[in-house]
Subunit: 289 residues, 2 copies
């Protein structure tokens, strides 16, 4: 994991415009938003899934960076005053606090096309039409039926009592879509998977994505701001429905454990090439930050 | 022109998610931002340029819609309180006024990947690797070295005295990048242009893009809010440098005319297939709104 994280940090450094290129302030703010932090869960999933198809790491690095740029932009916009209005992220001031609101808006607006540019600028598949399909996967996962749509459902849910299926529907879009895209795109960088392979991989990614969110809610309730690197207890303060508010802390912990077991089960028909994916399911559920 | 505008309205209607699809409010807001107005200058340029290469209009419609989604998102974000803080656009309340700020933010965030999704979802070139090249053109034009970068330069220029070259540099990015992309992508939908064809076409588009901006500044100074459908005199009120503030009204009018002549000259080596491009250069400079 540390090797992937180090590799990703270097790749993101390289793929982001240099801070001395015009417009300098925007480029500095883009680098601030993307570099120097984050668990890089999506890149870890992309690299782990790429082992299923023996993909070239140089390709995986590109799709992982593209997904991470989309993820980073979503955090910048999500932290803005008109959304969650948060001042702390990854232990540092959020982008609009460190720079200003207008710059934060543009950082997100510019990171998004950079993700698609990266995926158009490198050879990622043996056939160009497969690469176009990969670009489409990222676009759909980022859009109104994916991540951005999940944010909209999240917005509409503030102060409301959601049912468990409604909460799940929100997270399957808000964080799940990009987690699934990262996993599938990692595998697609190599030779194709066997019949139903992508289907099973998507089931794994969907389960792991939900587990990630359940654990996030548990940690948000349990941990301190210092440990998390972002404001703790925020969801409760904003009366946002969470797994903990709906299920209670004990049952939420149980659910995370059930999802962990389910994620492992989804991988059962893959051979030893799925070892990293198994490890990540454990990491995502058992993490403390 | 009216035929292209009608065709585009229908295409955009079709390409946007239906308002009854979840998340409904976001989809309604996306449709509000894109439909029902606008001169559709970029689609007009794409269709006009596509005549140079005898491109299939069904392809041109897709790239024109993609560019128009990027343009529409940029207007939504540009109008937000942390940017230009404007309440009127195309004669109607701006998106964040009609809906709310968070929704306006997400409208822009979701329109952008929809543009790339469209371009990945349709066959736009005879060879898939040409289509990937076209996706890259749109990504670069939208990003920090294109439109979003131009916005950042614009932000940094408020209250400053710019030189004419600095103002030109800003507009070549802020509005020019997408106008050039629309034109080049329209031509790329067909069989390739002759040697230097794209270069000459880009020169035309760059000139027309600047002329568009000069005329915008002249109209902003001369016309009423009712005629423009957006707040008139805004640039002066926000102490934004404009062609009129730097050159004066009479010289700005002359410059627009010079650019119109230059745009026609850039087309000189094309044959009758460039007729629509010639017409558009006239329309852009001689328009009254």
């Amino acid at each position: 994991m540390a090797a992937v994280q180090t590799r990703m940090e270097a790749a993101l450094q390289r793929f982001l415009p240099a801070p001395e290129i015009l417009p300098e302030r925007l480029h500095r703010a883009m680098r601030y938003a993307v570099l120097g932090g984050g668990k890089r869960v999506r890149p870890l999933l992309a690299f782990a899934a790429s082992e299923l198809s023996a993909a070239d790491p140089a390709r995986v690095e590109v799709v992982a960076a593209a997904v991470e740029m989309i993820h980073a932009y979503s955090l910048v916009h999500d932290d803005m005053p008109c959304m969650d209005d948060d001042v702390l992220r990854r232990g540092r001031p959020t982008c609009h606090v460190e720079f200003d609101e207008a710059t934060a808006l543009l950082v997100g607006d510019a990171l998004q096309p950079l993700a698609f540019q990266l995926m158009a600028d490198h050879v990622l598949a043996d056939k160009p039409d497969e690469q176009i399909e990969m670009l489409k996967i990222l676009a759909v996962a980022s859009g109104s039926r994916g991540m951005a749509g999940g944010q909209a459902i999240d917005l509409a849910s503030v102060g409301k009592t959601l049912s468990l299926p409604e909460l799940e529907f929100m997270h399957i879009h808000k964080t799940g879509a990009l987690i699934r895209a990262a996993t599938v795109l990692g595998a697609r960088c190599g030779r194709g998977l066997e019949a139903n392979g992508y289907e099973r991989l998507e089931r794994y990614a969907k389960t792991v994505g939900l587990a990630f969110q359940v654990v996030d809610d548990v940690l948000d309730c349990e941990a301190s701001t210092a440990t998390l690197g972002k404001t703790a207890g925020k969801d409760a303060a904003q009366s946002k429905p969470t797994y903990v508010s709906i299920l209670g802390l004990a049952r939420a912990r149980e659910l995370a454990e059930e999802l962990r077991v389910e994620a492992h089960a989804a991988l059962s028909s893959f051979d030893a090439r799925a070892a990293r994916l198994h490890e990540l399911a454990d990491f995502i559920v058992l993490r403390k930050f």
